[in-house]
Symmetry: C2
Amino acid sequence: MIQFHHTTLPNGLTLLAEADSDAHTAALGFFVRTGARDESPHVMGVSHYLEHMMFKGTARRSADDVNREFDELGANYNAFTSHEQTVYYAQVLPEFLASAADLLGDMLRPALREEDFTLEKNVILEEIGMYDDRPEWRLQDTLLETYFNGHPLGHRVLGTHQTVGDLTAAQMRDYFSQRYSPDNIIVAAAGQVDFDALVSQLTGLTAAWPPTDARREGGDPRPAAVQQRLTDDRVTRHYLAMLAPAPSAQDPQRYAAKVLADMLGDSDGSRLYWNLVDPGLAEEADFSFMPQDGSGAWFAFAACTPGRADAVEAKLLETLDQAASGDVPLEEDEVTRAKNKLATGATLQGERPLGRMMRLGSQWMYLDRYLPLEEDLEALMAVTRHDLRSLLAAYPFQPRTIVRLGRGEGGAA
Amino acid sequence: MIQFHHTTLPNGLTLLAEADSDAHTAALGFFVRTGARDESPHVMGVSHYLEHMMFKGTARRSADDVNREFDELGANYNAFTSHEQTVYYAQVLPEFLASAADLLGDMLRPALREEDFTLEKNVILEEIGMYDDRPEWRLQDTLLETYFNGHPLGHRVLGTHQTVGDLTAAQMRDYFSQRYSPDNIIVAAAGQVDFDALVSQLTGLTAAWPPTDARREGGDPRPAAVQQRLTDDRVTRHYLAMLAPAPSAQDPQRYAAKVLADMLGDSDGSRLYWNLVDPGLAEEADFSFMPQDGSGAWFAFAACTPGRADAVEAKLLETLDQAASGDVPLEEDEVTRAKNKLATGATLQGERPLGRMMRLGSQWMYLDRYLPLEEDLEALMAVTRHDLRSLLAAYPFQPRTIVRLGRGEGGAA
């Protein structure tokens, strides 16, 4: 039996749980509503760099202590940074939940020692270097930058050699104090959880955290419609990626958008799969829906041998355009297939405390309210062909930005 | 409440389930006790190639039917081939379990049509080509080949351009009839499962499958102790990998081996982590236990900048040797940490029908009996320092084969 709990502490910290007395583990996550889109351009990468610094110790713990304590708890733990959130989490056996909460909570007030900052900078710069070594990954950075056209959603999560190289510990401390305010953080738990105990523990732990009324700036993106070609002689394949506007994470049309993306672009069977991958034209062809805070995007991607670059791009765009125009009508059975796949995926996610916790924290971040899994599934299963046609009329894969990556003329295979 | 079920059909097919009436999904897998180690050298890669062919249709289904039906069920499905097993599985909502069983069961009697065989050969050859593009992946193939010294455990799962290029459909059919015998297959289910219904369905579906009394040949490996260096100017880092003998998947010492591998080589905190990764000497340093059928191996891996190659190798070997000799004694708290981590991992795996099903099928394949998760956890938690010392005396990381990969002299950074 899953029981939802919610409270907000006086300092603004939101606490959520889906407690399940039958679960054998517990998952706990701290969701900070901040990421690459919340950075000034000259400190690009600070969110991700700061995430690394959180593991380097606090006033009462050294970096070794943090690592060793997670180990002692046998915890499965990690953190990640995206354009819109920075998340720290752990999965543990229930008897270790309170210790994990103490450790994660303490970590979120990092010491940010100058010498650790300097050492970690090299780690980040090496990570950026590894990205440079993978031209097909860099394609996506370029696409985001071009499409978002000056809006901070086009920032690189890792930052650049320049911005990370120039960053000072003082700038990081400023960013931290503004963004890691308790009213900008959601704590979500799931599984074998005693919510009251968690609330009283975190009330004590975060009592001195000052709220700053952190907000997200930057306004709405004004996406570009640009076509671009990158060359790199290290790649053996041709790559193609596209972005276009789609509904936001708050938009009721997001359910229809998920169904449409699955129908058109799921890698296991979809229009792109049947038109491009199954006949062997492309090795990969995906289309997905990227909901974001206040806006959203369609994302398409294909990889093929260089000789088929033009044919693949033409077929991919034709597949999307024929869906938008209604020239290839939406069939009832393809809608049903997509809904079944999405329902299976959501049910599988809901089976684990980790999946529950991730869903709970992310959803609250965007919606500021609780949406039970059952309600989510109902809304998904209620999507009709009519809804999909309205969606396509509002978001017809235009304006679109396309970036291609292949070998230069001299290096062509 | 989890309920174990087991039966063997007259044709030798083993059926297993961990039924859980509270689960919201079901997972089903067909485990075939065959893989690269069961291939003659001249048909190396046939197991993996055959796995692909299983998705190309049967007497009553075309390749498109197979794909479309999985889609209609909203199934999360896949297959994989290793040295010792070939596994086909699906996760579905409970109402689709019978359809998934029909589809997977039918797939395991593939049509193996000549034209599909020819088309798929190109897909496999491209996959081998992609491997050739990743020198650090090829390092492992070379290591296995060298260490296993002519024994089929050194086969490449994908095969080579030569063996796959030369393979005929007739050879594949031969391999199929010998190895995909019902007495060489285990069907495992977990989650929301009606076992009696599954048994009667599979009894009908597999009634005509002829048992062949398939066995595993090849004897025990006689590992080599070789040191080798590969050069490739496409890599920017230095890589190092090592194999040495360890307990088998059936050996009672396997629990101690898991604890030891975690203590020495877990990437989140272990002796190698603290000696190599934390101080920034290596970017990656792992040590793991690879249990196999009748034998087993220790596997170590490290990646670093080329200038640190010698220092990293020396430190890695020193860390292992000092554990084996007792020069750096095993501490109670590091043993406890390792056991806690392994217990968390096993409990997390047991939380999902997919994890339960995978555990059930693989374990039966090696042990020919049921081992409840609780019993497994007890055996793990019972490991003592004394057990670890006995293990180290029996498997002291010798004889060892080491393969290194870096740039050639001319291309060194």
